[in-house]
Symmetry: C2
Subunit: 370 residues, 2 copies
């Protein structure tokens, strides 16, 4: 057997993020995390810091550390508390404390081992420590593998708004080890499906057809189905990010469902609903808004709502009150001079960013909270 | 009189920072801060946030606000506590709190009105708020006008190291209003002179000659002398930054005196010595190290030490103990795998970054603390 058959490339797939000198690969497959070959192309450095959380550390930190110890003379670990409610300054500072206590320098590589919260915080820490050190994403949740680990958006939350403080900062590599999805709680699997479903209405209705036909296989965690869903999601995201890294325009369509979703997360208190759950429900609301704007028909809204429900996600919004929703959405990053911008579906498979009359938004909120 | 003679350009000088699509001008002259023409080329936006401190606000905030109110429908202000010891997370969060409480969006322009601490924190807040909003530097200290406001280095301190958390993020414009130097305390004027003197040994010995000949005029705040010193300093910094924005190599020479200086600041506790004072003394130490490395002669060290003393800066280092100095310098951002890197003078007018034997560094510390 030739040596190349022993490397992950024999089973792993790659999706390239094309951003000039900030380009990097996403590798997708089983058994990647603990395989030295996965990291072979990374620059060498004396030290590394693995950033993970209290849930993921007992499952995967040892395997990752063991592999990295062959590359770095010193491999340190910092374990953050788990949960969106910890995605703030205080937790971020635990990363900086560890970097400085261990004497980490400008070449130290940070490895984000965990879900979206770990990835977003590690990425922002890497962007900011000594004004920028290299980092690698090792996402262990479906949501992080198909969305948050890809594209270089990093951030922490502020009490007044989600992801308000952060940086565009690209990793050197994203490692989507599909084996890590075996230990994922069912609720988190569903949350990841929300972001997968999202790619259909905004970019690829054939992918939506495929998801509808394969939802049972995805919920049963069949490896081939998960591999296809992760790869296709990353391909779509890579194409969008490659055209608009810093969200000057097009990239905003990836926030379909997120304007309403962020309001739900912030309004209920971070951690009450998972991010993917809020996005699932937010897509129902954004689809309803698209319909009320005369862009799509009720059959489309029904179809999307039904799929979101089948994926185990909420389709009825929490009763925060219309005025509270509007106030929360006015601090969304897409808002301009107080006007809320929504990602709407112009026609199935194509999204756009636009404003909407408050009265229409109130109707949507009333209808979705019923 | 043609209209153009009424604009600040008739008395102001400009230095360009050439960084492709991140290029911007430094305007230098009297009466700039409160002149609408100064800001005429900036993009319009609905809102602005002036970030200043409790010392500068009573002096200049009203004039700046009055001018900005013609450009922005809403001009908000946040007043930070004054001093290097406040350059941390807690103070930075006051800026984010203000931005969110006032509903500031991605187009909101931040104006940093103050010295290096205000500029560094406002710049990092601008880099991070919603992953990046525009900002303008309006430096009101000599040190900020000749160094910290130019070149896009932004940061906050960590208890274990200075400027450890930050971003490379360029302003849209730097406004050096020389009138603001009239109210500067003498100690701060001297601190600014440290960074001006720095440009001589690293880049331009003719400028060092000029400073020696004009030091009394600078200490007497003669406008023509200050204008020349600020302009020439900005020219040298612009040339260096234009070649190496993110400090891959050359830019590190701007840190002459800063490796020892940061150790002094951190070792004494931030705010005990001014940054410029620590840099002044740090240059004496770095010059001594250069001599012990056989690069320059004692006459050069004497000449530089004498000028630094004449400028009202300390030339004798605080007695922290050699081991404490070494420990503090090992977390300097230029250090690699625990090896401290120093900016040394290779020959008068030319600097380089290199390591040095610990024994030699201990000799320098002993000699300079005597």
């Amino acid at each position: 057997m030739p040596a190349s058959d022993l490397t992950p490339s024999s089973t792993a797939q790659q999706v390239a993020i094309d951003l000039g000198d900030r380009s990097y690969p996403i590798v997708i497959g089983p058994s990647l995390l603990g395989d030295a070959a996965t990291y072979a192309a990374l620059p060498r450095s004396a030290s590394a810091l693995v950033v993970t959380n209290s849930t993921v550390a007992p499952l995967y930190a040892r395997a990752l550390r063991a592999t990295l110890e062959a590359r770095h003379a010193a491999v340190h670990t910092v374990i953050l508390p788990d949960g969106e409610e910890h995605k703030g300054w205080q937790t971020l500072n635990l990363i900086f404390d560890a970097l400085l206590q261990h004497g980490c320098d400008r070449k130290t590589v940070l490895y984000a081992l965990g879900g979206g919260v770990v990835g977003d915080m590690t990425g922002f820490a890497a962007a900011s420590y000594m004004r920028g050190v290299p980092f690698v994403q090792v996402p262990t949740t479906l949501l992080a593998q198909v969305d948050s680990s890809v594209g270089g958006k990093t951030a922490i939350n502020h009490p007044l708004g989600k992801n308000m403080i952060g940086a565009f900062y690209q990793p050197l590599l994203v490692v989507c080890d599909l084996d890590t999805l075996k230990t994922l709680p069912a609720r988190e699997l569903s949350a990841g499906l929300a972001e997968i479903i999202k790619y259909g209405p905004i970019a690829d209705m054939a992918f939506l057809d495929w998801i509808e036909a394969n939802l049972e296989a995805l919920l049963a965690r069949e490896p081939a189905a998960l591999a296809h869903a992760v790869r296709r999601s990353c391909e779509i995201k890579a194409a969008v990010v490659g055209q608009d890294e810093r969200e000057a325009g097009l990239r905003a369509i990836l926030n379909f469902g997120h304007t309403f979703g962020h309001a739900i997360e912030s309004g209920l208190g971070y951690g009450e609903w998972l991010h993917g759950e809020a996005v699932g429900c937010g897509m129902v609301m954004a689809a309803q808004l698209s319909q009320r704007l005369g862009l799509v028909d009720s059959a489309f809204v029904q179809r999307l709502t039904s799929l979101i429900g089948r994926a185990g996600l909420p389709t009825v919004a929490p009763r925060l009150g219309a005025e509270r929703y509007l106030a929360l959405m006015r601090v969304d990053k897409k808002a301009e001079a107080g006007e809320i911008k929504f990602v709407v579906i112009e026609q199935p498979g194509r999204a756009a960013v636009r404003g909407a009359p408050d009265a229409l938004v109130r109707e949507v909120i009333d209808a979705c909270c019923a």
